[in-house]
């Protein structure tokens, strides 16, 4: 179920990427898409009624299963990368705004 939410978010992001030319909106769409991807990844590692994959002294003795920890680690990294890219994108967008006075790519046209 949560997978579909992730896919839906990805699709929404893609829709945004295809339709808008506003730079801030593009970055938002990108973020939505990344968010969707992250949710999707988390869902891969999801195990119903699983525990957090941390070995502690007081682990229950009955049969249990860990949630797959790897996707979580991936997501962590992906979020960091996403953050970096977004920040960079926003800086670039702001600089473009300073130069051209608009956030709309179609108004700027091609920079030759």
């Amino acid at each position: 179920m949560i997978q579909f939410a992730g896919i839906a978010l990805i699709l929404i992001g893609i829709y945004g990427l295809m339709t808008t030319k506003h730079m801030i909106k593009l970055i938002i769409a990108l973020n939505v898409m990344e968010l969707g991807a992250n949710i999707f990844i988390i869902s891969i590692g999801f195990v119903a009624h699983g525990l957090a994959p941390i070995y502690t002294a007081d682990l229950p003795n009955q049969a249990f299963s860990f949630v797959d920890p790897l996707p979580q680690a991936m997501v962590l990294t992906a979020i960091v990368i996403g953050f970096g890219v977004s920040a960079l994108g926003l800086v670039v967008a702001q600089n473009i705004y300073k130069k051209h006075g608009t956030y709309d790519l179609s108004e700027i046209g091609g920079e030759e």
Binding site: I10, I14, L17, M23, L26, L30, M33, E34, A37, F40, I41, I44, L70, P71, M74, T77, A78, I81, G84, V85, L88, G89, V92, A93, N95, I96, K99, L105, I108, G110, E111, E112
Partner: protein, 475 residues
């Protein structure tokens, strides 16, 4: 101590942190790092390096083999020469370049798919920042959006691979994937391919390259065309041989994409009247050709093409951006006959362009011949026809530029004591020396192609062990 390949990643990262602090020694640090990297390359033993003590299916490992050696060597040497060539510009971007170097080395060495994603993203971010040096931020933004979208695709593909196989180790992943049902493995493969397509400049997602390459300066031009492009090419070659299972649908899609990249890139280059734009589209086209070779299971031909293209493009971009900066414009009219004043640059440029086109006596010819011969063995006779027809177009525009740049006037003009256009200062002696060194490397490689091709073919058995699986699927 120096014997470990991990220094290739660690050293540049370390240097990057130091360079932020020690602003005055930045440039020296960069050069020293690259030189030390070279040392490491020769000192480190080949093989699998396991990081943190976890065995491959669980932990990250680095794979250093002949293939990686060639790629790493090419990249360290070219980057070293390029930063010497573009010294004034490189000074301002030292930390970025160092981070990028770490990413590149990691990308080529890593044996873990997710780690590969991370490295690609690091390189991408560094490349975004580097591309701002062109001063055209909209193009950077364009590049940023596309690369990130494809990065997300790559990530999804990685995750799906993990979900289906449970491992992320690159080496041998193909075996596992090939045993999956087609319906399952199709989507991750496709996502991985599209995840790389943007950086590989494949049609239809290569639109960023036109402007990033086409308005490059002395630093970004050579780095993008001669360092980043071959690095991603090598990574793609690794992926094709170790990870990606081609089904008939993805295989033909990839082939068509590669061919159309080659053909359309060269056609677009044919109509350009701006030198840098021409080179940009030429890079796109060449990238398509290399991808085609990897797709068709002829990696060593692909490697040869990548090496040739990297060396040639470093010279071409170096000279072209330098001349453009000096004369103010890259258009045909402005640059007419400029090599009359800059003979050595002209000779280097000519060597590089002749090699790029694949004219005999130069490396590019042997690359092209290997490519065509390799394709013959797949039985697709029409592909060489396309390659050779496109090579005519390629030769046509390269020669047009060469002729334009060399001839300031017609026969008898000098005898009539007329004035030629003013000479302007393009490069210092040191920079000319660098271009000369690049040209000499390219030329020497062309002189002993047999030895060179043999060395490349030695890398073949090590990496093509799963080749047959992919081919079986593809046909």
């Amino acid at each position: 101590m120096m014997g470990s390949i991990i220094w290739l990643i660690a050293l540049p990262l370390l240097a990057a942190f130091v360079s932020v602090v020690a602003q005055t020694y930045q440039y020296g640090l960069l050069v020293v790092t690259l030189l030390m990297n070279l040392l490491v390359l020769f000192a480190a033993p080949q093989g699998l390096t396991i990081i943190g003590g976890y065995e491959p299916p669980f932990g990250i490992s680095l794979l250093f083999d002949q293939y990686a050696l060639i790629a790493l060597l090419l990249i360290q040497v070219l980057l070293l020469l390029i930063i010497v060539l573009a010294r004034p510009l490189a000074k301002n971007y030292t930390p970025v370049i160092l981070v990028m170097l770490a990413g590149l080395n990691g990308m080529l060495l890593t044996n873990d798919l997710f780690n590969l994603f991370v490295m690609i993203e690091i390189v991408s971010i560094a490349a975004f920042i580097l591309s701002t040096a062109n001063g055209k931020l909209t193009h950077t933004f364009h590049y940023l959006i596309l690369a990130t979208v494809s990065g997300v695709f790559f990530l999804l593909g990685t995750v799906l691979v993990y979900a289906y196989t449970g491992i992320l180790v690159v080496q041998g992943l193909m075996m596992r994937l090939a045993s999956l049902p087609v319906a399952l493995s199709l989507i991750p493969m496709m996502l991985l391919i599209f995840g790389m397509a943007v950086e590989l400049k494949l049609v239809p997602v290569s639109s960023w390259a036109k402007n990033i390459y086409g308005q490059a300066n002395l630093l970004t031009g050579p780095i993008f065309a001669a360092v980043l492009a071959p690095a991603f090419g090598f990574v793609f070659g690794r992926m094709m041989n170790e990870v990606i299972v081609l089904h008939s649908l993805t295989g033909y899609t990839l082939l068509v994409m590669a061919i159309s990249t080659f053909v359309l890139g060269e056609l677009a280059a044919y109509r350009q009247t701006d030198l840098l734009k021409t080179l940009a589209f030429s890079s796109i086209g060449q990238s398509g050709l290399a991808v085609m070779m990897f797709t068709l299971g002829a990696p060593w031909a692909g490697i040869l093409l990548l090496i040739n293209n990297a060396l040639a493009k470093s010279i071409l971009y170096g000279v072209a951006t330098g001349v453009t900066a000096a004369y103010g414009n890259a258009s045909m009219g402005v640059l007419k006959g400029v090599f009359y004043h800059h003979r050595l640059l002209g000779v280097a440029f000519s060597l590089a362009s002749l090699s790029l086109v694949g004219i005999p006596l130069f490396l590019g010819f042997f690359a092209k011949v290997s490519a065509v011969m390799a394709i013959f063995s797949t039985g697709l006779i029409w592909v060489p026809v396309i390659i050779l027809l496109t090579a005519i177009v390629e030769g046509a525009y390269v020669m047009r530029w060469l002729l334009q740049l060399w001839s300031p006037a017609f026969e008898g003009y000098l005898a009539s004591k007329k004035e030629l256009p003013q000479k302007r200062n393009v490069f210092s002696a040191q920079q000319i020396l660098v271009v000369g060194v690049l040209a000499v490397i390219l030329f020497t490689m062309g002189l002993m192609p047999q030895r060179f091709v043999d060395a490349l073919q030695k890398t073949q058995p090590a990496m093509a062990q799963y080749e047959m699986v992919g081919q079986g699927e593809q046909q």
